[in-house]
């Protein structure tokens, strides 16, 4: 923590406390992403002006199908009929909330940069669904939970947002910051028989 201007996701301590990385062939790869911008967006998707404004800034349309995630430059998660989560790793993403807010200034909407409050994991590996299903009730079958599908659900005793973002069964797992340490510990424990490596 010497570089005081670096953004911390809060799991630095957890990562340092990780015992020797266990890299079995069938293991699970968990990545904790640095510097991801999360913008919570609320508005009326029936309002053409709102949609135009959002699309102008994001370069992609908001998903209106429940429990889907639009995967392009940004990952836009449908959270509710009038609420979305924009997840972006683009270099200019720290200014995303400001750009959206400026564009939507005269439209009833709400833009909040909540990057500091969210932790993003990507999970991949042969047994990922199996591990998640230990404490998540979502049906992760490849024919059911396809790329572009997402769900707000519980993982063990934490609320999580899970999206399937790649054909190769890679999942994005988004957790509120205060629960991230618990979720990381849970994952480490639940996946112990498969071998899990956090990066």
């Amino acid at each position: 923590m010497s570089d005081s201007s670096r953004r911390l996701h809060g799991l630095e301590f957890f990562l340092r406390s990780q015992q020797r990385p266990d890299t079995k062939a069938s293991g699970i790869h968990a990545r904790i992403l640095d510097d991801v911008t999360h913008v919570n967006l609320r508005g009326n998707s029936n309002d053409a002006e709102f949609n135009r404004g959002v699309e102008k800034v994001l370069g992609q349309a908001l998903p209106v199908e429940p429990n889907t995630v639009s995967i392009r430059e940004s990952h836009i998660y449908w959270l509710g009929p009038d609420e979305w989560l924009v997840v972006s790793k683009a270099a200019d993403s720290p200014g995303l909330a400001t750009r959206l807010e400026n564009t939507l200034r005269n439209i009833h909407s709400s833009v909040n940069d909540i990057s500091g409050g969210q932790v993003t994991f990507t999970l991949s590996g042969e047994n990922v669904e199996r591990v998640l299903n230990k404490a998540c009730t979502i049906d992760f079958d490849a024919g059911t939970f396809k790329p572009g599908h997402c769900a707000q659900s519980g993982l063990a005793k934490a609320s999580v947002l899970i999206g399937c973002i790649e054909q190769s069964r890679t999942f994005e797992l988004i957790v509120r910051r205060s629960f991230a340490d618990y979720v990381a510990r849970w994952l480490r424990h639940a996946a112990r028989h498969h071998g899990i490596e956090f990066r």
Binding site: M1, S4, S5, R7, L8, H9, G10, F13, N40, R42, G43, D82, H108, S109, S110, N112, D113, I114, S115, G116, G117, Q118, R130, N133, K134, A135, C136, T137, I138, D139, D141, T144, A156, K157, A158, R176, R177, S178, F179, D181, Y182, R185, W186, H189, A190, H193
Partner: protein, 999 residues
């Protein structure tokens, strides 16, 4: 020596002998044995004592229905009570013991109960232990000690358990002929299938018999089906997995026993796995239970169900006797007679039916087996083991008694009273059952959920019918899933003719049923025919009441053997039909499950989430103990050099009052509220005039529930014309957001307001004390922090030490104070920067305890500590917060009769008269310590601390009519009858004018 082990046969592995201990004695068995089959192989007939009468008992069944052989398995921390020996797979070194019998199983002192069994009739418990009332505490000790079937371990469980959620199109419960067939048909249609069977191998009843399918031994057919199911990618095959619960929406619970067959502890991996299955369709194929016959002394060790005897012979290569009698009212037991005959055991069949013979009867005749038709077993001879029976000729009159009986010597009595479909899961799912007059059993009728029953649990007894029923069920559920099925050929089996069963619920004896030796219905609960008759005589009519009164159907077996016989006998007593009497309710669990299974991996540090603030690790490094608030872990206090709580808190309080302190307030709930109607919305929620706040101003606000009681409080700030920032209590954050969204979405959808939770996104550091301004200035602040530019109760955007922050001039300590809201990604750094910037003022981090003391000195309440959901703002003296210019939630309730009572409990301050006693929180307050008991209470202490700043204790309390009782002395009633006088004062103990915070 395995005296009763047959020379050949069985599905055991004779090349793998295993040693085990039962009641301290070492025995041997083979891999593939259950504890029960191994005990029988070793000629152990006596395995337990009955629950109430302590009668000697032996193994009766071969599966989940076993009522007697309930044993304690394993030792120490991993021991398991309530285990059916018939379901415990043998492993080397297995340690098991009976849970009844003192000083030992053979000589049990409590067997005296049997001598006085008249005293211990139905309702004994209710009749005896009710009076005298004061004696219950003595009775209870005795009852607790004699109840139960084992002991729970006292050490922590060393094994791990896990849960697994699964989804499928078709779940098949039971892997006998019908279940396998259904699974095969469904799997071939492409359905996602889960098939679960409680046993170690598939086959169900086929494992116990000697039937052939397609001209080959049935086992080969089973293996072929399982191989195909396993090869298909769409089937999950689970052995040792009991479907134990059927809940709403086809939610099914399955207990998979992963390691219990290998040893006492799971060497690696998990011991048990709980499958939580959501199934589109369910096929119920759990088979049927053979019913005992109800005759005198039918509980003697050596009396078993006929199918169990066949199972021991065919599956385990064990014959549990040397001379056998088969007593039956139907054809199926003839298979057992033939099995015994084939094993070289002399056998006599006693058949209550006078005439007729089905194919099996004819085969028995042809094999030269003696069949006594038109006879019954009237009594059993032998105490610790059957040594013979008495039989009598019977003409079919159920009320008859016998003068003359004939003795037959034998050590094994195999009985069959017909079959009861295992309708447990069907019933748990809410389905109804119908009485079948020809098959004499309840069969599934209407389904309440998406399921189909198949095979014996649907009332089909023949193998052919079970296979066909399985095919039909598989096709049906696949079709319901919208899948196409291929025609499946019915396997070839040999079918014979059946001589119909004759219903015989109570076997006539030498005396009438109330005076003859005991005829047991429910072995585990010692419920006899006489008990049910007594219950009926005493006025019990409803089967559920009779169950509670006689204990019929309770226990680990839940009446799997005895229930139908009991209901039929009750029906006879009441002059009703069996369907009129009906069944008791079937509830989960089907067989007992462990606590470990329920807990899964939610143990230890994963028992409950620990929510951590962004600064958590710094607090940990500083040695702070944590206080759990909701799921948050908040620093409690920061001890230095071996300080205890009180010393640390006194130091932290004084440092803050005299110089500067700092705390992590990140756990406060934070909500962004905006939209054109936000003022109108908040006016309805909060009690003060929200709209009058100017942009940039902060205000303390409270919200009430509709009943007028205080719900939550917090500071809010107006950030823009149409934007507010709300804070909530730590514990109330989620509730408040739900509350606000509920009103917006369901009651006031016309209001254009959007809410967003920012609790985790922003961290809050409170810097409090006369030197707080200097600390911020030292850190480098972009704005003028002076009073003129930045007054008390205002908010400004600023850059602090290079980081963008929102600065609030609010105070929960009564001192000059700043709350710094910063992106959580930088909060840890900011904490460190402020610590360094405050060094010259000896900045002191403080925790929740000091925060509590500082706010109590100022008389600030904590919702949930000083309030409890029954306190109005008027009770708290907050009338100044209640706007007269508008309506708000809860306002009308404040004028309810009860809310304006003048003796309501009201918030006051308390000072101990002695100036030194810190009265414990929760202490009750009384007016007159001399009053006769029970002494009326007039209030209670809500907060109490020693104030280092003031040098004496302070307390807050809710006291009846407290507001108008200033300076009165009342009494705190402590433990050990200690009474401490306290004086009622204002709850504001320090700086009542607020001069210190407004500088």
């Amino acid at each position: 020596m395995q005296l009763d082990r047959l020379k050949t046969g069985g599905r055991i592995d004779r090349t793998r002998p295993l040693n085990f201990r039962f009641n301290g004695k070492t025995y041997s068995g083979f891999a593939g044995d259950t504890l029960a089959s191994a005990l029988l192989a070793n000629d152990v007939a006596l395995v337990s004592r009955s629950f109430k009468l302590h009668r000697p008992r032996g193994i009766v069944g071969a599966g989940a229905e076993e009522p007697n052989a309930i044993v304690q398995v394993g030792t120490g921390a991993s021991t398991l009570p309530n285990m059916r020996a018939t379901q415990v797979e043998l492993y080397d070194g297995l340690e098991a013991r009976s849970t009844k019998g003192w000083p030992n199983l053979r000589f049990d002192l409590a067997a005296l109960n049997d001598r006085f069994s008249k005293v211990f009739g139905a309702g004994f418990y209710y009749k005896t232990f009710m009076r005298p009332k004061a004696f219950w505490k003595y009775y209870e000790r005795f009852i607790r000690a004699s109840a139960g079937f084992g002991i729970a371990p006292t050490e922590p469980d060393p094994d791990s358990y896990e849960h697994r959620n699964a989804h499928c199109d078709v779940l098949v419960a039971g892997g006998g002929p019908a279940g396998l067939m259904a699974a095969l048909v469904a799997a071939r249609s492409g359905a996602r299938v889960i098939i679960a069977d409680e046993q170690n191998e598939f086959g169900g009843s086929l494992l116990s018999g000697s039937e052939s399918i397609d001209g080959k031994p049935a086992a080969e057919w089973v293996n072929a089906v399982i191989a195909e199911l396993r090869d298909r990618g769409n089937v999950t095959v689970l052995t040792r997995s009991t479907v134990f619960g059927y809940y709403d929406h086809n939610f099914i619970a399955v207990a998979e026993h992963c390691s219990d067959h290998k040893g006492e502890r799971a060497a690696d991996g998990v011991r048990e796995r709980l499958w939580r299955v959501r199934a589109d369709q369910v096929v119920l194929a759990q088979g049927a239970f053979e019913r005992p016959l109800v005759f005198c002394n039918n509980d003697r060790p050596g009396v078993m169900t006929a199918s169990a005897v066949s199972t021991y012979i065919n599956r385990y290569g064990v014959c549990p006797g040397k001379r056998a009698v088969v007593f039956t009212n139907n054809d199926s037991a003839y298979r057992t007679a033939l099995d015994l005959n084939n094993a070289g055991i002399p056998v006599v069949v006693v058949d209550c039916r006078k005439s007729g013979a089905g194919s099996l009867g004819a085969t028995a005749d042809a094999a030269g087996i003696t069949v006594l038709r038109g006879h019954i077993v009237s009594d059993v001879i032998g105490r610790h083991r059957v040594s013979g029976i008495r039989i009598a000729r019977w003409d079919g009159d159920t009320q008859s008694t016998f003068d003359s009986t004939i003795r037959i010597d034998c050590d094994l009595l195999a009985m069959s009273g017909g079959w009861s479909p295992a309708v447990h899961l069907h019933s748990q799912s809410g389905g109804t059952n119908a009485w079948d007059e020809t098959r004499h059993c309840f069969v599934p009728a209407e389904s309440a959920q998406a399921n189909v029953s198949a095979g014996a649990c649907n009332g089909h007894w023949s193998l052919k019918a079970c296979l066909q029923d399985g095919i039909d069920a598989g096709a049906e559920v696949a079709a319901r899933c919208g899948l196409r099925t291929m025609p499946v050929e019915l396997p070839v089996t040999t079918e014979g003719t059946d001589n119909p069963m004759q219903a015989l619920w109570r076997v006539p004896a030498s005396k009438d049923p109330d005076r003859c030796p005991k005829q047991f219905i429910d072995y585990q609960n010692d419920t006899s025919v006489a008990d049910v008759r007594l219950a009926a005589r005493e006025g019990y009519r409803n089967v559920e009441h009779v169950k509670r009164y006689t204990a019929l159907g309770f226990g680990t077996d839940q009446g799997k053997l005895g229930n139908i016989n009991g209901m039929a006998i009750l029906a006879e007593c009441l002059g009703k039909t069996i369907p009129e009497v009906g069944t008791t309710t079937f509830r989960p669990v089907y067989t007992p499950v462990t606590f470990g299974l329920g807990a899964g991996e939610n143990v230890g540090e994963l028992f409950d989430p620990i929510r951590k603030t962004a600064i958590h690790e710094r607090h940990q490094a500083a040695g702070s103990p944590f206080e759990v608030v909701g799921q948050w872990h908040r620093p409690w206090y920061f001890p230095q050099g071996g300080e205890d709580l009180h010393a640390a808190v006194a130091r932290e309080c004084l440092a803050t009052r005299n110089s500067v302190g700092m705390m992590d307030a990140s756990t406060l709930g934070k909500i962004d509220a905006r939209g054109p109607d936000v003022v109108e919305f908040l006016e309805r929620i909060y009690t003060h005039d929200v709209g009058r706040m100017k942009v940039g101003r902060c205000a303390y606000g409270i919200m009430l529930r509709e009943d007028g009681m205080l719900m939550d409080d917090g500071v809010m700030a107006r950030l823009g014309e149409h934007q507010y920032y709300l804070t909530t209590t730590t514990g109330g954050a989620a509730n408040v957001l739900n509350w606000l969204e509920t009103w917006l979405q369901t009651e006031w959808p016309e209001l254009k307001v959007y809410l967003t939770s920012l609790t985790d996104s922003f961290s809050t550091i409170a810097v409090a004390g006369p030197k707080s301004r200097d600390v911020l200035q030292n850190a480098g602040c972009s704005i003028d922090l002076g009073k003129e530019n930045f007054s008390f109760m205002s908010v400004q955007q600023a850059v602090l030490a290079g980081f963008p922050v929102q600065l609030f001039r609010v105070s929960f300590s009564g001192e000059l104070a700043f709350e710094i809201n910063i992106d959580s990604a930088y909060a840890s750094q900011m904490w460190q920067i402020l610590m360094e910037s405050g060094k010259e003022f000896d900045i002191t981090p403080y925790g929740t305890e000091t925060m509590h003391v500082l706010r109590a000195e100022k008389g600030f309440v904590i919702v949930g500590q000083d309030t409890d959901g029954s306190v109005t703002p008027v009770d708290l003296g907050m009338n100044w917060l209640l706007s007269k210019n508008k309506d708000f939630l809860g306002k009308r309730s404040l004028s309810r009769q009860d809310c304006v009572r003048d003796d309501r409990k009201q918030l006051v301050g308390l000072l101990s008269v002695d100036g030194s006693t810190v009265v414990p929180e929760g202490t009750q307050l009384i007016e007159d310590p001399g009053a006769p008991k029970p002494v009326p209470m007039c209030g209670h202490v809500t907060s109490s601390y020693f104030s280092a700043t003031l040098g004496h204790p302070i307390a807050m309390a809710l006291v009846s009519a407290g507001h108008r009782r200033k300076d009165e002395t009342i009494y705190a009633y402590l433990a050990d009858n200690l009474v401490v006088p306290v004086t009622i004062v204002s709850p504001v103990f320090y700086d009542a004018k607020g001069a210190r915070q407004n500088v």
